[in-house]
Symmetry: C2
Subunit: 372 residues, 2 copies
Amino acid sequence: MALFSITSRDPNSRARTGVLHLRGCEIETPAFMPVGTRGTVKAMLPEEVAEIGYKLILGNTFHLHLRPGSELIERLGGLHKFMNWPHAILTDSGGFQVYSLADMRKISEEGAEFSSPYDGAKVRIRPEDSITIQHRLGSDIVMAFDECLDFDAPAEAVRASVEMTLRWLERCKRAHEPRKDTSHLFGIVQGHFNPELRDYSARHTAEIDLPGYAIGGLSVGEPEPLMMSMLEAAIGPLPEEKPRYAMGIGLPLNLIDMVARGVDMFDCVVPTRNARNGRVFTFEGVRSMKQAQYAEDDAPLEDGCPCEACRKYSRAYLRHLYTCNEILSSRLLTGHNLTFFWRLMERIRDAVRTSSLPQLRAEIAAVYAKEG
Amino acid sequence: MALFSITSRDPNSRARTGVLHLRGCEIETPAFMPVGTRGTVKAMLPEEVAEIGYKLILGNTFHLHLRPGSELIERLGGLHKFMNWPHAILTDSGGFQVYSLADMRKISEEGAEFSSPYDGAKVRIRPEDSITIQHRLGSDIVMAFDECLDFDAPAEAVRASVEMTLRWLERCKRAHEPRKDTSHLFGIVQGHFNPELRDYSARHTAEIDLPGYAIGGLSVGEPEPLMMSMLEAAIGPLPEEKPRYAMGIGLPLNLIDMVARGVDMFDCVVPTRNARNGRVFTFEGVRSMKQAQYAEDDAPLEDGCPCEACRKYSRAYLRHLYTCNEILSSRLLTGHNLTFFWRLMERIRDAVRTSSLPQLRAEIAAVYAKEG
């Protein structure tokens, strides 16, 4: 079965709905993927993540390779078995994490070398290594190894980097060849904040026949209009029939705006990390559980939300748990935020089908304008 | 219905099995109570605690009174509703926590005064206040306010303290009078490490007619034989037909040894706190999830254990979660340890019924001698 099929198109935008067929799951798109960095969506049991509706999560190649080790996970039967997640897994390539290491990394044509943030050991990840690691993990969607650049990278460096990422993609494709029937390699469009280079990267990435394409290097601190224009430049040349994945994107308005521009897949730590910091997403805006106004508030976090926190607990209790730094706070608020993101994506899919994205956007913008 | 009925007696020891009838629950004794200090058994949903089998947990008067406040909890419908625990709750009186404050407290005949460890505010808890606070929380079993003493307290101070705790008990009983039909006040035997004073305290406490009696001030660092002889001195004068509760007791061998001496109820942070520190109780002894030997161990924590961790995850995965400080580690290991304590108490109850406590003790001692 083909990985991706488009089920509807919004006549007023580039938005579409579709289905990803992965590991026996049908994943409706536009889809949001919770992040399970170290083989766990933080604070949640895998069953709880699946029960919300999610059947595709993201795992971090970089972290899992360093700890507990990708060979170890392979010997124990792969990441799905290791973390008791029978549904689909997309793994990133480690490119973005290598970039995050800043001074601790060295990038060359060959690949990346860096000191492990866990124990200082020297680690080398070439494009082929990244693919091999993702094969060991048993990923259903494998991401190509790419180079991300600092915000202030000079133009010549950007062009050279885009070219290198394209050469790396060819190497990734060759390395992935033996597994191409059981997992799907996605290429990644880079090009920094230069529209010509975004277009160039996208066109040449699209020339390499792959089951899907991602846009990387966005949401790294740039202003939002710049992010959206880079996305547009990058998405233009990508083939209509393949899924498009905006990496690391996650604020509610950004999701809507990128769906309108033709994005099908997203991942972000926003719902999970914010939950652990007591920040809760609702259709009335963000609530901070620190606030004294909830101290004696007997209402649920959000009326009509089907999550555990909203069905059984008051804001007062959730605030108490959060202010006492109780583990149950992270559990309940993560469950809520992931439920909110699921419901938001459902509303986005409905809005695409009914050509009503602008109305949904207006509603969300009214409460999320400041949050992006 | 009477609070407590004895269902079997071991002819070879003082052990007995029984049932506590509380809030529509039948709680088999000897029973272990998980500790829910701040209105949550740390890392667990209340449903998960109940599903293991527990229908009686402990809440901390001291902590809940200071944060979020007992009046607030009362206005929100009481502790059961606040924390979504429909089953029975025993609250301690705060006496032990006041003792733990060391230099920050001042004890007089009137009661205790101390600075809140949360915000430094001056707080006064007299015996009547402790009972009022526990009424606000809606506790099913209310503990009398008692004085605990430092390990090196001089003999005269101990006698004076025992006398004062007895006078406080009379004040607690009067304060509890209006609620005596809906909740049960337990007195607490003190007497430090002096067998005559333990006996004295127990006799005079037992003279005050109450639905149950506790032994306090044990397991504060004293050698185990001393602890057991103090328990024996304290339990001797207590009425046969009333439940006896050894406060703060929790290591596997101690539970067995105290059951053999006639104890019916226990509470301890041992299973929950150890779980968060990666220490796991099994019938083969304690395992530390830090140990490298589990790094690639595909076996469950403990064969035959019905907990979530043992049914679905390998030691290798659990070690990985623990070493990465993941919240899911605390969840899964707490679930396991509480399941172990439930199974241990089941085995203890069976052993009492079949007069085989010595055999069970020998089995547990073989692996838990060093753990107490």
